[in-house]
């Protein structure tokens, strides 16, 4: 089948998609966007989190056909004019990245959290990101990164 979507602001069309393919497979293998990660492929780890019509979803749980005609933003689409988004920058600076396989999903999930809540508390962050598994960091520096990004975003909004 043919799938037509908007991905990271660009109109994309792919042909010969098998009906059983997930949005994650189409992004990674057909659209050359492997940033969204394939860690569990059953919606448990959050590594493939993308925006689908502005709502964060696990791309592995979305059938490719469901994405037809819709708008998708992946981790590759979060940069602003070629610069790292403040959330991305905070993850690097806080040491929240080790192997980094969970990072794209966490960056998207954090991006979404900070869109909804400017200065989330620790319990709010933990609850919001509990669907994103990280095996390397023990999460402490991810918590630091979220706070750092929240501080920077709220400061830039005030200016």
């Amino acid at each position: 089948m043919r799938i037509t979507t908007t991905v990271n602001g660009e109109q994309r069309q792919v042909d010969d998609v098998w009906e059983g393919e997930s949005l994650l497979y189409v992004l990674r293998e057909r659209m050359a966007l492997p940033g969204s990660k394939n860690a569990c492929e059953q919606g448990e780890c959050g590594a493939c989190t993308v925006y689908l019509d502005h709502v964060p979803v696990c791309a592995c749980l979305v059938a490719a056909g469901q994405a037809d005609g819709r708008e998708i933003v992946t981790v590759e689409g979060l940069q602003v004019e070629g610069e790292l988004h403040p959330v991305q920058r905070a993850f690097v600076e806080a040491g929240a990245v080790q192997c980094g396989f969970c990072t794209p999903g966490l960056v998207v999930a954090t991006h979404d959290l900070l869109e909804r809540s400017g200065q989330p508390s620790d319990p709010e962050i933990r609850e919001a990101l509990a669907g994103n598994l990280c095996r390397c960091t023990g999460y402490e520096k991810i918590l630091d990164a979220v706070h750092l990004a929240a501080d920077r975003l709220s400061t830039s909004e005030k200016q």
């Binding site: 981790v75 790292l84 396989f101």
Partner: protein, 789 residues
Amino acid sequence: MTTVIARPESHTKVIGGRVGDSPQRPDGNLKVRGEFAYSSDLWMEGMLWGVTLRSPHPYARIRSIDIGPALATPGVSAVLTHEDVPGEKLYGMDIADQPVLAIDVVRYQGEPVALVAANHPEVARQAAKKIRVDYEVYEPVTDPIEALGHPGWNPGQHSTAPVVQVVELNAERARLHPNGNLVRHLKIRKGDPAPVADVVVVGEYEVGMQDQAFLGPESGLAFPAEDGGVELHVATQWLHSDQQQMCLALGLPPEKVRLTLAGVGGAFGGREDLSMHVHACLLTLHTGKPVKMVYHREESFFGHVHRHPATMRYEHGATGDGVLVYVKAAIYLDGGAYTSSTPAVVANAGTLGIGPYVVPNVQVDCFGSYTNNPPCGAMRGFGAVQVAFAYEAQMDRLAAELGMDPVELRCRNAMTEGAQAPTGQVIDSAAPVEELLRRVQSMPMPAEHPAAGDTDLRALPGGVSNVTHGESVVRGVGYAVTYKNIGFSEGFDDYSTARVRLEVVNGEPTVTVHTAAAEVGQGLVTVEQQIARTELAVDRVVVHGKDTRVGSGGSTSASRQTYVTGGAVKAACEKVRDVLLGMARRQLGHTIAGLRLDDGKVVSDGEGVVAAIADVLGDRVIEETLQWRHRPTEPIDPETGQGFAHVQYAFSAHRAVVDVDVELGLVKVVALDCAQDVGKAINPEAVVGQIQGGSAQGLGLAIMEEVIVTGGMIRNPSFTDYLLPTMLDMPPMKIAVLEYADPHAPYGLRGVGEPPTISSGPAVAAAIRQAVGKPLSRVPIRPEHITGT
């Protein structure tokens, strides 16, 4: 000595990036942008997808394999079996006993039987289902103690009846390998064989099978080379060990099997053994096309070794005032179907089996067995994790028997520098066991949990799912301390190779560091840059991609890379520096005392700056390649276990504070504080990251993580059913990093990665026991163990 406390007040970075600083990782920006190329992200024009057909049975004889219908499937390019393996058909890191593809017998569920390459992964998977394998199914050997013919214990743990028609075991079939079912029996015999003590405590303990659960699945891309060889881009922990095993299986010389490290999504021991390496190369050599293989999560549970489950019986004897007189231990580790690294895991569990305590009389018998359970091998902590649960539970039990405080009992028996390990090895650098315990003991305690009904549900055990709202929540506090060998032991030739190049690029002196040491997320690439900047006083340092075009870096395991590859990079830089300073002397035409490098310049104490490095170099290039070794170790005596077995020891202690809902059996770890001696923190932020991440894995084993195996079958091969700690499960940590230099190691550093995974779990288990008042001698501790229902 300095102390670094986690969660700094400010995120201001020290710019500079030399040893002791915390510069950002060179791959960080790529990773947050989603542009870092992991082994599962690779793509080539015209590539095929490879899949593996695996045995559904833990033990069976293969009567026949019919690949005809699979091969006839449209889109399929190849279907291969053991007959297509051109070289050695068995592989293994030290002992080659594992078939590349099953030959006549399968010995564990998930053993690879056949391969398919097709133009789409789903086409390959469907074709694999059409391969007809006729099995004669045997009753599996599942008890690691009975597998050795030893009288069993823990009758509740035996296998359940399988559903298929099964041929019962007889003496011949119960022997899984030609030499029987014993992988290794390690004995420690020290002091009086029949010691007598005032107080004796005995306990039996079990540790479940843990999975590394790295997030990046086993994967890689192989493609044929013009010289008849093969290229493989893969996620691994040791490129050269892989290469050596692959050459044997493929029947190719090393120059025709070239490996490049792709992005690695975590490892934790699970990538020491080969997974899809040979398989992808077989398919690519057979088809002449690039072949990509990526395991699904379920397949990953069958595609790598796990942490050995352990069954342990301990007896501790002490004087009435709490001085240890003796320890006796019998330790059984289930190695599963093939050898993997079981011999070395047995060595660690045996030699480290009584913990960091001074004990004059020690008898340890540590066994590794073959069974038809999933193969077990390396996982962070490597044998030291299992025994720590037992010896630390014993210390608590002994303290209770003596009416002593558990920390006081530990301190009374703590190892110090100059103490003798059970192997007779004298600890010849700092052993701050007591200080580590005192450090965590003196850290501020978390706030008491609020009265029932008055609390944020999210703070309760079970979180918002807690249905009692905290009426039955009891707090407990537990301590544990441990030590771990760093680097490869028992006389292993444990070296690393570094190639360091210094040249002027765009007017700026530039260092390129090339090693084959695998970066798996821990930050070795950052450390390599820091060492080169420190030794050569140059800001711009490029870390070359990791591949087999330079000599072996040894394994990224045993917490050894900063020590050994760091040592190699340091030594190669020193050699480059000597050459550079020689050039400077010749150019100056006279001898200047005390020439050294500082901030891009050649300086001397007497004359200050004498030349810029860039000017000394001009268009010349200095390149040095060398192998570097830590001091040698020795094999231990097979009868007494005595010998200089380990190159270095690292120590850590944890204090865990838990809230337990004793009615529901739910646990919330409220605090998990750690003190660790790292000798020298080469990168303090990365050290803290290792402690936090390592502690999370220990917490996981204590209360949630287990590969459940019954009848040789894995029952929970998914992240739905194998539970990993989430952000809600990990508490904030207070961390003290001690720096007592080890005079034998580069910069005085100690390996960092493993100790926190070892002492965290036993501390959590101890805290739960204190809250619940039950022995809880098996981990992971589940709700039903706490409630007794």
